[in-house]
Amino acid sequence: MRIFIEAVGIAGPGLNGWREARAVLSGAASHVHADTTIAPILLLPPAERRRAGAVVRLAVGVGLDALAEAGRPAAEMATVFASSGSDGETIHQMLSVLTTDPRAMSPTRFHNSVHNAPSGYWAVATGSREPSTSLCAFDDSFLAGLVDATAQSITEARPVTLIAYDMPYPPPLHQSRPIVGAFAVALVLVANDHARTIGCLDIGAPGNDRSDHPTPTPMSVPALEHLRAGNPAARCLPLLARMARGEAGHVLLNGAAGSTLDIHFSPRGTS
């Protein structure tokens, strides 16, 4: 499958915004740790703005950044949200309340606990009635989201924005499911090339579990490799690094059950 990329949104430790991240990932600037920027969603009405948790703000924020960069109205955009764990803080609070007597659950916390909460807030913020799906493939959630969004864009001939995001769980869930850093990425995907695309991805045939498994492409900077290996959404980093360098070539991303999937990036004008 071939898909063209119009714009990137990104938020991560020392990777806040595509301009900063592009400099770091291309090697033009060194990576300096800084907390992930998680801003309020100004498009939301005040009540919803207060209810939107950090995961929602992280995911919606990178999506809006990418669409602003692409110059596309969010209201007309189909979306795919991909995450392993969604809102761990809310889930922890809810599980804690359920051990008490009475089990005084908060209605806001309950509706924020659904896996598709960022997608729901996104629709309220942008007014988009276009299809939006929310999926999970554990550590491989970014890749599953990329393949799903690409298939949707190609088969339905429409632009689709992929938003992948994951944040650490608080203790004690963190010990059972350690996730590194707060990281989110958004890619605006279109099926046909035009003057404003960054380049295209050729997504290889599905990997299978029978052959030898080449290891996924690592990051050369240790802090970024730590992030890539530890946050499901950050599995995209080797791909973003190619895009930042504007350099054609292959990357191998983790697929399900130890397999890898080959993705080839071609900068605009070279494919």
Partner: protein, 398 residues
Amino acid sequence: MFPLTLGHACIVSAIGEGQAATVSALRAGTSGLAPCRLQSVDLPIWVGEIPALDDLRLDPQFAGFDCRNNRLAELALRQDGFLAAASAAVARHGADRIGLFLGTSTSGIQQAEHAYRARDRLTGELPGWFDYARTQSTYSLARYLRARLGVVGPSMVVSCACASTAKAFANAARMIAAGRCDAAIVGGADSLCLTTLYGFQSLQLNAEGPCRPFDIARSGISIGEAAGFVLLENPSTDWTSAELDVRILGIGESNDAHHMSSPHPEGAGALLAMQRALAAAGLRADEIDYVNLHGTATRAGDDAEDRAVFALFGDRTHVGSTKGHTGHTLGAAGIVEAIIAMLSIRHGLRPGSPCTQRLDPSLRSRYAIAPTATPIARVMSNSFGFGGNNCSLILGGR
């Protein structure tokens, strides 16, 4: 992208294990709802419980997956010859050419509820037996089916609250159309847990007594647990078997863009999803014989859906909700009702609404309380969820 053959299917819900038991209950108008007996639940609610899950054991090699949700998935897989059908599909297509597109809302979170009650008093740590990846994780269901069925194609779990397993059909259809797989296993499971029982209670959406869709005295939902799976293939694959007589003709998705947990009051997003499904199928509204509603029996939800359905179908088309049979099975509602739609077509049966007594006169769609034997060629099945997700499926006979 359409049609797609919806062939082998398995189902389990509070009205029975397997297709035959499900059809019998639909014909007889039997409700699977009963007062909640789940341990330690002190709510005056009715639920659609499957007691067999308490004693069900997974094969020892899959013991790490043990939780109520994966037991529920396992119970469904054991029905209707599905395991053999899945093996045959693996032999026919190759394990890497079959995708898994599953849905759930809460997955195995009940296991985390247990683990939180067993936290170490001093350190707060969770007990050593707790296995996040294989139970609580939203992806646990797909991980279990991969291991259980030996399917290694593309896999994902869609978690769009109560629209999850309806929307999973759309993911599967796109991936088959894009050539990423040749066949797909679509479906999912959602099991009873404190999270949803107390969560819906906090939103004041649980009914007193059994849920009564479209009733003037309806007061909310009754949560049920259920699982179902279907094998979805291109019609070119094998279109001769009498069992493979139902197809997915179209799917429509939309979002309300209104509120996290309340439907758009006019049903604007629901209407859009139904219109998109008709457009994808190339059908007019009057070519649909029966609409299986989302119809959860909340005041606002039934009202909004009625407005949208009436705007599209007027009072000509028969509509109904089967939530009074199964309860609202949350993330599994899409697959349960897709299979009920398939059974309606195959058996010439329009289901009724067992707990509904007196229809709300302010709702204008043609709602049927009694089950009726009648030929049915095409069914629309609606599933809507938190976060404003709407999905309509259209199924049709040969």
